[in-house]
């Protein structure tokens, strides 16, 4: 079943996929154990007129075991998940490149620094639905929305974050493979929700620099973008 997972192309992908697979095997084992037990019981203890069911109200030891064991497993799972979550959403590492993405019905606007070298000013270079970033660089993006809630989703990156009007949500990612990846909107945003998609173009550093020059992107360096 997990073979349906798209190829992972960001630094997040191996971390999330590891957990995903872990939970898959864990729940898979419980699934088979419970369903097979159910089938065996249903078959073995099917009605016979000459038999009488065992008169028992329970077994305290057994009940304590099947309370404590799942509790421990689930709490451990929460702790294991915790660090991956913090790496992706809580701690934003120093960035190599900064830009903005603004969602609107029904496009993704990519904002790059204009001649002033700063993102989020009037001279930003803006393009609809095409987001260009260099490969293997830490990209910091400020996510905004102009109207309703959208959700920036890049399946191949295993990344998703809602864009909320009135909020400026900082996100980051590092893509490890050049290519062209779809950016669907994952939150219902109106009649044009379906089909709201952009493309994430991941270019090798030299190609990206050439592209930036061609489009008069003010700066590709983090220092200037901090401004």
């Amino acid at each position: 079943m997990m073979s349906w997972l798209p190829e992972g192309v960001s630094t997040f992908a191996p971390q999330i996929d590891r957990l995903f697979y872990g939970i898959y095997y864990l729940t898979g084992a419980v699934f088979f154990a419970v369903q097979i037990t159910l089938l065996v019981f249903v078959f073995r203890y099917r009605h016979r007129p000459d038999r009488r069911a065992e008169y028992t109200h329970g077994n305290t030891t057994l009940e304590i075991v099947w309370t404590v064991v799942p509790a421990i497993i689930l709490v451990v799972l929460a702790f294991v998940s915790r660090s991956t979550w913090a790496n992706i959403k809580e701690r934003i590492p120093p960035s190599d490149f900064e830009m903005g993405v603004t969602a609107k019905q029904f496009n993704w606007e990519a904002h790059y620094a204009g001649p002033d070298g700063k993102v989020g000013t009037d001279d930003d270079v803006v393009m609809d639905n095409d987001v260009y970033v260099p490969v293997n660089k830490t990209i910091r993006v400020v996510l905004r929305s102009k109207d309703v809630i959208h959700s920036f989703f890049v399946p191949s990156m295993r990344f998703k974050q809602d864009a909320v009007p009135g909020h400026e949500i900082p996100i980051w990612f590092k893509v490890t493979k050049p290519g062209k990846y779809e950016i669907p909107c994952a939150e219902l945003c109106g009649f044009g929700h379906s089909g709201m998609r952009g493309w994430l173009h991941v270019l090798p550093q030299e190609e990206f620099e050439a592209w930036a020059k061609e489009h008069k992107i003010g700066s590709t360096a983090p220092a200037a973008a901090h401004g």
């Binding site: 957990l19 016979r48 979550w85 913090a86 295993r158 998703k160």
Partner: protein, 587 residues
């Protein structure tokens, strides 16, 4: 027992003595059994409408932008010669979920079975407040009518999802929906009043009107479940009402509760909505858990395994359900630190569900299992609920949720819980209590065909949705073929729709069986399943006042099956054993 009860008893006894007019008896009835049947009628009717909407949604996803056979008559701009446009599609899935949750599953499980079973199973003659009970139904019917009317207003019905996140739901220009969304808010506010009246009634009745000897730990688990559900309803619905009020004011009175342009906060709605919404999920599943527990014990001819653990785990679920709402908001822009704490509470709430599952298996162990239709649905409930419970662990883990949030993985999960869980429980309940409700048996052969087709159709429909979710398929999209990365998944969408058509077809067996049995089924005896609980002491169907003669006295817990004290394999709660009365265990 208190004095209030004897007054109520007198009143109900008096009521049995005079003939009632048709209108008082069947329409504006104060009798909890009639009100229960009224909720069943509206609930099942809305189930049909919700189901048709689901099939329309599925058609669009399998064969996008093609005409739906048989729907060419629907006028523009709702459909165009049978083709569903995107705004109508959004309205269809929004109304599908709204109708199923608020107007089908809740009325059937809580409205119908809550009403019908509580007085009968605790040994009372009626609810504590019969008039309030009647009003609760009629107010709910008004909410029903308002919700259905919203299909016919300009701009169509609400189309911002059943979760109606603002600003999309807040500013008409964003969604193109005008009065539809307002009516959606108003209908649910009205429905909230109905549930408030119902829940106050349930709680009061269970606390005050239990028959002599019916201690708390002699209550059947169905009653425990309904009691806890009523408390959740009482506390959760007003929160939704507050949110709906703010949304409505934003739309019609120019306030900005959820609009950043006026200093409002869109995430406030999500907090309010899910603070209601998560207890709501348990409002939908707890009654089914109680019902399945009772039916499993009856047809295993065995006491429920770990009765107290079953009752306490439901309380634990209810308590924890108030502190897990943030798991719906991991990717919403809420502080990621808060996400971690909600992950912890969410992991913990899985434990009581695990306890229940193991106890159900324990109940089957060394039983003497009879495969009646209600038992098949109860077994199906356990099996499907396990899948829904396990798939929940994926989204509880915050990093995995980053990927699967807002995908079909969530859709698969919710349907395993609400259909595989709640609806399978509701089907089990219909087959099990039909003889008591209508005095006739349902047809077992048709019932079994219904079960197997439903089980197969259900799994062909919803299991592959996990695959869609793993493939990254978003929820609520109109046309999956617009996305390159979803093209390989399109055959799965087609398979799912075929499964859904089978699932829809399977329900015809229930409809036929229901109506055929209603008029021509064999007469039901007083206790056809040889069960222990008090409703089986009353005639089938019970008369007004439920128990002819004095109220039953309860001598033991509800699960004394295959007890060594008696030769037969059941020992009713109200049966007095000479010399052994005091020694009977309380559970």
């Amino acid at each position: 027992m208190s004095e209030a009860i004897s007054h109520a008893d007198v009143r109900h006894l008096a009521a049995t003595h005079h003939e009632q007019s048709f209108v008082r008896r069947y329409i504006f009835s104060l009798d909890h059994k009639t009100i229960g049947k009224q909720f069943l009628t509206t609930g099942l009717s809305m189930l049909v409408i919700g189901g048709i909407l689901a099939l329309l949604v599925r058609w669009e996803l399998a064969w996008p932008e093609t005409a739906v056979p048989g729907f060419g008559w629907v006028p523009e701009p709702i459909m165009f010669g049978g083709i569903i446009p995107p705004d109508t599609y959004n309205a269809f899935f929004t109304m599908h979920a709204t109708i199923m949750i608020f107007f089908a599953v809740m009325p059937i499980l809580v409205g119908c079975f809550g009403n019908f079973l509580i007085p009968l199973m605790i040994g009372a003659r009626d609810m504590a407040f019969p008039l309030l009970n009647m009003l609760s139904f009629w107010v709910a019917l008004v909410a029903n009518i308002i919700m259905l009317a919203s299909f016919f207003v300009t701009g169509g019905a609400a189309a911002a999802g059943w979760t109606s996140y603002p600003p999309l739901s807040d500013i008409p220009a964003y969604s193109g929906v005008y009065w539809g969304q307002n009516l959606w808010c108003i209908s649910l506010i009205v429905l909230g009043i109905s549930s408030l009246m119902g829940s106050v009634n349930y709680i009061t009745t269970i606390i005050n009107m239990r028959a002599p000897g019916m201690t708390w730990f002699r209550l059947p688990l169905t009653i425990w479940a309904l009691f806890i559900t009523a408390i959740l309803l009482l506390l959760a619905l007003p929160v939704l009402t507050a949110g709906l009020g703010m949304l409505l004011f934003d739309r019609v009175a120019g306030t900005h509760f959820f609009l950043p342009s006026g200093g409002g906060e869109p995430l406030l709605w999500q907090h309010v909505f899910w603070f209601f919404g998560h207890p709501e999920v348990y409002i939908l599943i707890l009654p089914a858990m109680g019902i399945a527990s009772d039916i499993l014990a009856v047809f295993s001819r065995k006491p429920i395994f770990g009765y107290r653990a079953m009752a306490f785990s439901m309380m634990a679920i209810a308590g924890l359900s108030w502190i897990v709402w943030g798991h719906h908001m991991f990717q919403s822009g809420m502080s990621p630190v808060l996400g971690t704490s909600f992950m912890m509470s969410t992991m913990v709430i899985a434990v009581p569900s695990a306890i229940k599952t193991f106890n159900w298996l324990g109940t089957l162990w060394r039983g003497n299992i009879k495969f009646t239709t209600p038992m098949l649905f109860a077994l199906g409930f356990v099996s499907m609920f396990v899948i829904g419970g396990l798939s929940g662990i994926y989204m509880a883990s915050t990093p995995v949720d980053i990927y699967i949030h807002d995908t079909y993985y969530i859709v698969a999960h919710i349907h395993y819980v609400v259909f595989g869980g709640s609806m399978f429980g509701a089907f089990a309940a219909i087959y099990y209590w039909f003889p008591k409700m209508f005095g006739r048996m349902m047809n077992e052969r048709l019932g079994k065909v219904h079960f197997w087709l439903t089980l197969i159709g259900f799994n062909v429909t919803f299991f592959p949705m996990h695959i869609l979710g793993i493939g990254g398929h978003m929820r609520r999209i109109y046309n999956p073929t617009q996305y390159d990365f979803l093209l390989p998944l399109q055959p799965v969408n087609v398979l799912i729709t075929r499964g859904a058509l089978l699932l829809g077809f399977a329900q015809l067996f229930l409809v036929v069986n229901f109506f055929w049995s209603l008029f021509a089924g064999p007469r039901a005896s007083r206790n056809p399943w040889e069960a222990n609980t008090l409703e089986w002491e009353a005639p089938s169907p019970p008369p007004h006042g439920n128990f002819p003669g004095p109220l039953p006295t309860v001598y033991r817990g509800p699960y004394e099956y295959s007890s060594p004290l008696v030769a037969e394999d059941y020992l009713p709660q109200a049966r007095r054993l000479e010399g052994r009365v005091a020694a009977a265990p309380a559970h």
